[in-house]
Symmetry: C2
Subunit: 416 residues, 2 copies
């Protein structure tokens, strides 16, 4: 090979013969007869820190500073292959069941949306880019348009980037993230909870089947990281075991009211929470974790929250014996992740929906088209949204959302 | 069935027995024993105009005013099923070939980009949402980040919504549209032209195979529409014949220089163009149509455009005998559509790329990371972008881009 001096991460073209390997750690090896340098990699200026020993991994938080070069590490190769597998599994799941993929441009119109502006120079004074009086927002959900599509095609799903402008610098939030939103006509809450469970279990099974090496690598890496952290005295379940358990039996289901009772009983046994559990309050992260991780240690759906806590479009249930109102909703929680899906049966009674919208002070003119869906050839329907990156975190065992996306867009994030 | 009076487009639940039909136009029919009304549809206020006779279609331009209800027509059911089939075909094509799906957040930084702003109330004065000094744009292309990913994973593709803020109220442009962008390491221009051809031919073949009824319906509808228009004396090729021809043989390929010669010869034979063909000019729509529709009547790639006409990142070819510079690029044109893919071999020589960027007055600091990809373990690579809606227009025979998207976002468009 003459005088060719190659640096770490140089790109080369090799010609040779594949032979049986005499060593134990690999089955074959390449006996190289010629080598061509395609792209050198000067070690003195290459930005990514080198790992000192083979087994030692560069911490993901360090890699985050090198968005381009972190993609070339073993960790990211494994994560991105599982990410691809997960995306394919989602499409396959819905395609086989006759769902149509629909791209939406809608948004829920909450406070935390990004507005979209064309370059100012483009417009004359008083002119608007979109139709007169129209403003465009980045979508926070495709659901409302998804409902219109489900009433045309029966079963649809969206799979696109949704955006949320919350100032959330946490491991759970990004400003832009892929969301999967199926919407099904003639379905009720029970149907879509089952659909969500089937979807998640199918996805996990596909990743276990198609990415066994990648998951084994990530499981090993998590073991090493957790050993180093030595946090708590509890031993964490192995990644592969956790995934196999998750698909071995149906998800747990509990109503919000039952969950509050469970939490109250826990308080009496001495468990401490950030806030004392009380009917009517929103569940905090530690409440959710207790239910999902301590009580069931299994993916768990919490259903039928108080009406006041949930979005206007959810189906209103009859009041209970104490006159308390809930809605036909259900959130699926995963151990170590929290909420991965949120869904509901939709309110299709024109009068009830209209009353709820007025009570919440909504812009009735902007949503008249949505309300009208209940007037013209409506059908019962239900749907949910699934956070793609959160499910991927569960499957890969990666703690932070910015470490499972190739180019994360997030609050306070360096953008490439 | 008692006194139940049903309006057109009412939603009902029917219970009955499927029996062999005595009529010729269907093979089976449902003998209904009970009927339940799920959602009535009051005919006096329902917005969508009713078709007067069974065969008469409501013009698509009329339907465009009813974004929600047009989805329930036969036309949109057919178009949306083909759209779904096309999206699945694209994922399948790449998945089988080992490409990784990568979501990007990048943009080319042209003038015509939308900026993204969080709600003002959220931020304190002087504070920024993204990292200090960072501004977020909607992506016009994922290519630059795609290149970084291809240098990590060899073969990748993106499939997401890209945005362009051009004031284009045409049948070819939307402000947001899905784009598919494969990027392949160790590939040159020839490789990605073949990849693009294989992709398009696979997609057409899948739609013919999986949506024969939908395409037959759309072909018939186009025949009726074109008969009504009575435009020109030339008879248009049938939709199915056009698609079968497109996959029967390789796409035509011609260099820009050859194309200019062909156009000049045409002018001498008396053909009139909007502008006289001259080496160095960008090809106008009528030039492209002449080459693709009159000369080849087949999908056609035009390659090696003058360097000045094309983006900075394209590989510079050696000058020709007259000293004229071209780049290793190629656009694929489809009959009746125009450009459906645009791609190139990328410039990987650090010095050449840097020189081109300086000459074009680019912000070198913003693109240093991109330039550095040529410094650290680089490899030859090439890629292209495919306009999803344009390919769908070709396959469905639908003229206008706003009629192939479920919820189009476009200049001067009403946003539902």
């Amino acid at each position: 090979m003459g005088d060719l001096k190659l640096d770490y991460l140089a790109c080369v073209s090799l010609i040779g013969t594949i032979v049986k390997s005499p060593t134990k750690c690999q089955t074959v090896e390449l006996q190289v007869s010629s080598i061509t340098l395609l792209g050198d990699c000067p070690a003195d200026s290459f930005p990514l820190p080198r790992r000192r020993v083979q087994k030692e991994a560069i911490p993901l938080v360090t890699l985050r500073k090198f968005p381009v070069y972190r993609l070339r590490t073993d960790e990211f190769t494994a994560i991105m292959r599982v990410r691809h597998c997960l995306a394919m599994a989602i499409h396959q799941f819905f395609d086989v069941r006759g769902f149509l993929l629909i791209d939406t441009s809608d948004c829920e119109g909450a406070g935390e949306v990004f507005t979209v502006s064309p370059p100012k120079a483009l417009l004359k004074p008083g002119e608007s880019f979109f139709g007169k009086g129209q403003q465009a927002f980045l979508t926070v959900s495709g659901q409302l348009q998804g409902e219109a599509a489900a009433l045309a095609f029966a079963s649809i799903y969206t799979f696109g980037i949704t955006c949320r402008a919350e100032e959330s610098d946490t491991s759970r939030h990004a400003a832009a993230f892929p969301m999967v939103e199926p919407e099904v006509a003639f379905a009720d809450l029970d149907d879509i909870l089952t659909l969500g469970q089937d979807l998640i279990q199918f996805c996990i099974a596909q990743c276990l089947k198609k990415c066994p090496q990648e998951l084994a690598y990530l499981a090993e890496r998590r073991r090493l990281d957790k050993d180093k952290e030595k946090e708590g005295d509890e031993k964490e379940k192995d990644l592969i075991t956790k995934l196999e358990d998750a698909i071995a039996k149906p998800f747990a289901r509990v109503t919000y009211t039952e969950a509050i009772d469970i939490l109250k009983a826990a308080v009496e046994k001495g468990v401490k929470f950030s806030l004392p559990p009380e009917w009517g309050m929103d569940l905090k992260s530690d409440h959710e974790r207790y239910i999902c991780e301590k009580v069931y240690d299994h993916p768990t759906a919490i259903t039928h929250y108080p009406e006041e806590l949930k979005a206007f479009y959810m189906h209103r249930c009859p009041p209970d014996a104490q006159g308390r109102r809930t809605v036909a909703c259900g959130d699926t929680l995963l151990q170590g992740i929290g909420e991965v899906t949120g869904g509901s049966q939709r309110e299709v009674r024109y009068g009830v929906l209209s009353e709820k919208m007025v009570a919440r002070g909504m812009d009735m003119k902007a949503y008249q088209w949505y309300l009208d869906l209940r007037k013209y050839g409506s059908a019962p329907h239900a749907g949910f949204g699934l956070g793609f990156d959160r499910l991927l975190r569960y499957i890969t065992g990666i703690d932070h959302i910015r470490d499972v996306a190739p180019f994360p867009v997030a609050y306070k994030q360096e953008l490439a």
